[in-house]
Structure formats: structure tokens, C-alpha cells
């Protein structure tokens, strides 16, 4: 069985590890370059993107993460999606620049604008609506040709397939629905 690493610098990494366990996969926390080298795929969880950026730079993780993403699957949720985007707005900030997309931080507003949405018309298995938890969430403003939009909310892309990689602006790890995690696991197992 392959091992999915969960970047555990800050944020809801435990929730992701739990979600992968429910989906039948093995997850391991990743805080160092050595731990990164030992996993087959990586999740960058929700949390504060600015905090994670600082910790990446303090510990020289920036280039190793870029190199990892050039070869192996990476799944980013919320802050993780921000860190993978090629361009970040509100305010502009550095990123790993892995995916051809533009994303705007805190685009719905502050915490009072956080909400749960039930998404229909998604491209996941089955017809059941997808419960999507948005917490101070970003909005994807542009998706390059390499991205395939799998779900939208108010017309904005919220789940995008980039071939080897996957991004969500919501938090599938905070629900009991395993479909998004299973989709990522299929990418991992296919390699």
C-alpha cells in the first residue's frame, strides 16, 4: 500500500489523516525533508497559508516540495490550494507555483462568511450531493488549460483536477464523505 504524506506544519492535518484512514489508506505526518522523501503523495491541508509559507522557508522545505510536486501527486485543500497556485491575490504572496491557476485568499470574506454548501452537478462518483465546508475560503479566479473543473459553487470552481494533482477550496476532510479523498487515492495508486 502506498503512503500519503500530510504536511503537518500547521492546520487541520489530523483531520486529513483521519479522512485517509476512513478511505482505507495509510497516512503519515510530514514535517521534514526526510519525511517527505518517504511518502508517495502529499496533502497540503487547510490552515493559514502565511504560517505554512514561513515554516517552509525556516526549514528549507520550499524547493524540496516543488521538486516533489514535479514528480508525485499533491492534493491541496483551502490553504493548500493557495500554496499550490501559480498566482495568489488578496494580498499577492509567494507560492509553490505548481498549478496553472489564480486564487484569491479569503474571497468570501471573514469567518462570518464561512458556510456549508451542498453541491450538485459535480463529477464525483454517484449523484449524492457533495457537502462542502468553506472556512474563510479562497475563490479560484482562473483555471489554466491543464485543469478540469469537477465541482462549482455559485459558478466558481471549487474542486479542480490537474491530472496528477487535485485542489479543493473547501474541506472534504471535515465531512464523513470520502469521495474526494478516494479520488485522490486513485491518482496515487495509478502511479
Amino acid at each position: 500500500m502506498k503512503t500519503v504524506g500530510v504536511l503537518a506544519l500547521q492546520g487541520d492535518f489530523e483531520a486529513h489523516a483521519g479522512a485517509f484512514a476512513r478511505a482505507g489508506a495509510r497516512a503519515a505526518e510530514v514535517r521534514t525533508v526526510e519525511q517527505l522523501e518517504a511518502v508517495d503523495a502529499l496533502v497540503i491541508p487547510g490552515g493559514e497559508s502565511t504560517t505554512m509559507l514561513k515554516l517552509m522557508s525556516y526549514y528549507g522545505l520550499f524547493e524540496p516540495l516543488k521538486a516533489f510536486a514535479a514528480a508525485k501527486p499533491v492534493f491541496g485543500t483551502c490553504a493548500g490550494a493557495i500554496l499550490l497556485a501559480g498566482e495568489v491575490l488578496n494580498p499577492p504572496q509567494a507560492s509553490l507555483n505548481v498549478l496553472d491557476m489564480t486564487i484569491e485568499r479569503n474571497a468570501y470574506g471573514r469567518q462570518l462568511a464561512s458556510h456549508v454548501a451542498r453541491l450538485r452537478g459535480h463529477a464525483l462518483d454517484g449523484d449524492a450531493e457533495l457537502e462542502a465546508v468553506f472556512i474563510r475560503a479562497p475563490i479560484i479566479r482562473r483555471v489554466g488549460d491543464s485543469g478540469k473543473i469537477l465541482a462549482t459553487h455559485n459558478g466558481d470552481p471549487v474542486l479542480v483536477d490537474f491530472g496528477r494533482h487535485l485542489v479543493a477550496t473547501f474541506h472534504p476532510e471535515l465531512t464523513q464523505d470520502s469521495r474526494v479523498h478516494k479520488l485522490f487515492l486513485r491518482k496515487v495508486e495509478a502511479r
Binding site: A8, L9, R31, T50, T51, K54, Y58, A79, Q111
Partner: protein, 295 residues
């Protein structure tokens, strides 16, 4: 209360996102910028840090709105603010201001010595302090989406934070080994709702994130409370009352993430200036303690 309730889940969702991080007390936009640049996961906007509240005395209230606005306008990370225990109107003002989290805090002078705010009635999430499991469960029953052990704010002394986190963790462990028929008596002893005692019995943890506060002054202090089970750390006076806030803020962020790696905590502890001066809790008068506010 229903833990699958959507509003409650959205509140707890933000608390989940703050795990593994450091929430720093700041009193102006410049400090907020230093905190964000050092890697804080959120800032707590207040007028005076606890050490100054302790020194200057008087009534400590919700911070000036202008101050909180200035901090909100100059940071991209979540901004929290404190209201007095039981001060429903201050809490409503902070909600109207759209702060991201309200701390119903013992650091401010309580407005109500009997009742805490009914936090279920709000859309903004609340964090509350506790010294033991019963207190934690009462606050959660009132709707708190995050718990922080109180410690002794503004003391620069970690001993009370350790006492409180150890107490909560020990009391939770004890509940997990009880039989179902023992839970009602345990709920009576803890003065907490049965359904929350049942939740702890089943899961071995609180239904909301459990952070630590009150007395963290060094990177090793932060690593200590993380090792004892705190999922994130609040630092009040410890950063901006030290001789080198920027370096210390970064060091505490590093030690909070790598709490279980002594070499990383060692590296974070190198070349720090003077920590804030500390207070010996045993030499303090009971009336000077902030942790005994609230129940």
C-alpha cells in the same frame, strides 16, 4: 446541543484550521504585522497585554474598536478579540465588527460573576478558558467552539498552564475507562451535561479543539504544553514583553510545530534575548489570580 449542527461545525472548522499554530496577543497594527511575518496563525487584538493589565490594574474591558479595526485592516490572518465574561453586549459589538473569533476571557474584568455568554446564540465562534474538564464541558455546552486551558495570564510562568492541561487530559483519560452506568455520577461530579461526558467517554477527547494559554514565555514552554496534549498555543505577554519580539515570535512558532523534535526546539531556543520577567504564583495573593474568574 447537536454537534452535527451546521453553524457549530463551521465555528469548529475555523478552530481546526488554527491547530498546530501560535495565536499571538497584539496591541496595534505594527505588532500584528510582526506576528503575521513571524508565522502566527491568528492574532488576538487587545488594548493591553495581560502583564500590563496586571501591573496597571483598574477595569479591563473590550479593546477600543478603532484598535481592533486597525489590526483587522492590516492582517490577512484571522483576528480574535476579547470580551468580558458574561458581557453579551460587548460580544455582540465584536460580532458586528466581524472579528473572526471572540475570546470570552478571564483576562478582562468579568461583567457577570454568575453567567457566561450564551454562545449558541451567536454566529461568530467563541473560545473560552478552563482549568479542568468540568469547566471545559460547561463552556462547550454554552456553545464554545474552542477551549483553551487558562494558565495564569501575564505571569510568564508555565506552571498553571501545565496544571490545567494535565488536569483536563487526566480527567478525560479517566472517563474513557468508566462503565456507561458510571457516567451519570461523573457528570454530576463534573457539573457538566451527560451527553458531553458521553462524548468524552467514547472519543477520549473534547468535541472541540483544545489549546493552551497563560504563561508561555519561551519556545520550550510552547513545546511543553504541546507535548502534554495542547493542540495549539496562545501567547500573550510572552512575545511583546520580551527584549526581541520578532526573534522570539519566530522561535515560538518553530517550537510549536516541531514540539516533539528536541533538536528543532534547541535550534529555536538559540540566540534569544531576555524573556519577559516572570512571577512566582505561590507568592501571589489569591485575589491577583486571573484564572479563578469564571467557573
Amino acid at each position: 446541543m447537536n454537534y452535527l449542527d451546521e453553524t457549530f461545525r463551521v465555528k469548529v472548522g475555523l478552530a481546526e484550521m488554527l491547530k498546530g499554530g501560535v495565536i499571538m496577543d497584539v496591541t496595534d497594527a505594527r505588532q500584528a504585522e510582526i506576528a503575521e511575518k513571524a508565522g502566527a496563525s491568528a492574532v488576538m487584538a487587545l488594548e493591553r497585554v495581560p502583564a500590563d493589565i496586571r501591573k496597571e490594574g483598574g477595569v479591563a474591558r473590550m479593546a477600543a474598536i478603532r484598535k481592533i479595526r486597525e489590526i483587522m485592516a492590516n492582517t490577512s490572518i484571522p483576528v480574535m478579540a476579547k470580551c468580558r465574561i458574561g458581557h453579551i453586549a460587548e460580544a455582540r459589538v465584536l460580532e458586528a465588527l466581524e472579528v473572526d473569533f471572540i475570546d470570552e476571557s478571564e483576562v478582562l474584568t468579568p461583567a457577570d460573576e454568575e453567567h457566561h455568554v450564551d454562545k449558541r446564540a451567536f454566529r461568530v465562534p467563541f473560545v473560552c478558558g478552563c482549568r479542568n474538564l468540568g469547566e471545559a464541558l460547561r463552556r462547550i455546552a454554552e456553545g464554545a467552539a474552542m477551549i483553551r486551558t487558562k494558565g495564569e495570564a501575564g505571569s510568564g510562568n508555565i506552571v498553571e498552564a501545565v496544571r490545567h492541561i494535565r488536569t483536563v487530559v487526566r480527567e478525560m483519560k479517566q472517563i474513557t475507562v468508566l462503565g456507561r452506568e458510571e457516567l451519570m455520577a461523573e457528570a454530576k461530579r463534573l457539573q457538566a451535561p451527560l451527553e458531553l461526558v458521553e462524548y468524552v467517554h467514547e472519543h477520549g477527547k473534547l468535541p472541540v479543539p483544545n489549546f493552551s494559554a497563560g504563561g508561555v514565555a519561551t519556545p520550550a514552554d510552547a513545546a511543553l504544553v504541546r507535548q502534554l496534549g495542547a493542540e495549539a498555543v496562545f501567547v500573550g505577554s510572552g512575545i511583546f514583553k520580551s527584549s526581541d519580539p520578532e526573534t522570539r515570535a519566530k522561535a515560538i512558532v518553530k517550537a510549536t510545530t516541531h514540539f516533539d523534535d528536541p533538536k528543532a526546539v534547541l535550534e529555536a531556543s538559540e540566540e534569544l534575548g531576555e524573556a519577559m520577567p516572570g512571577l512566582d504564583i505561590r507568592q501571589m495573593d489569591e485575589s491577583q489570580l486571573l484564572q479563578t474568574r469564571g467557573w
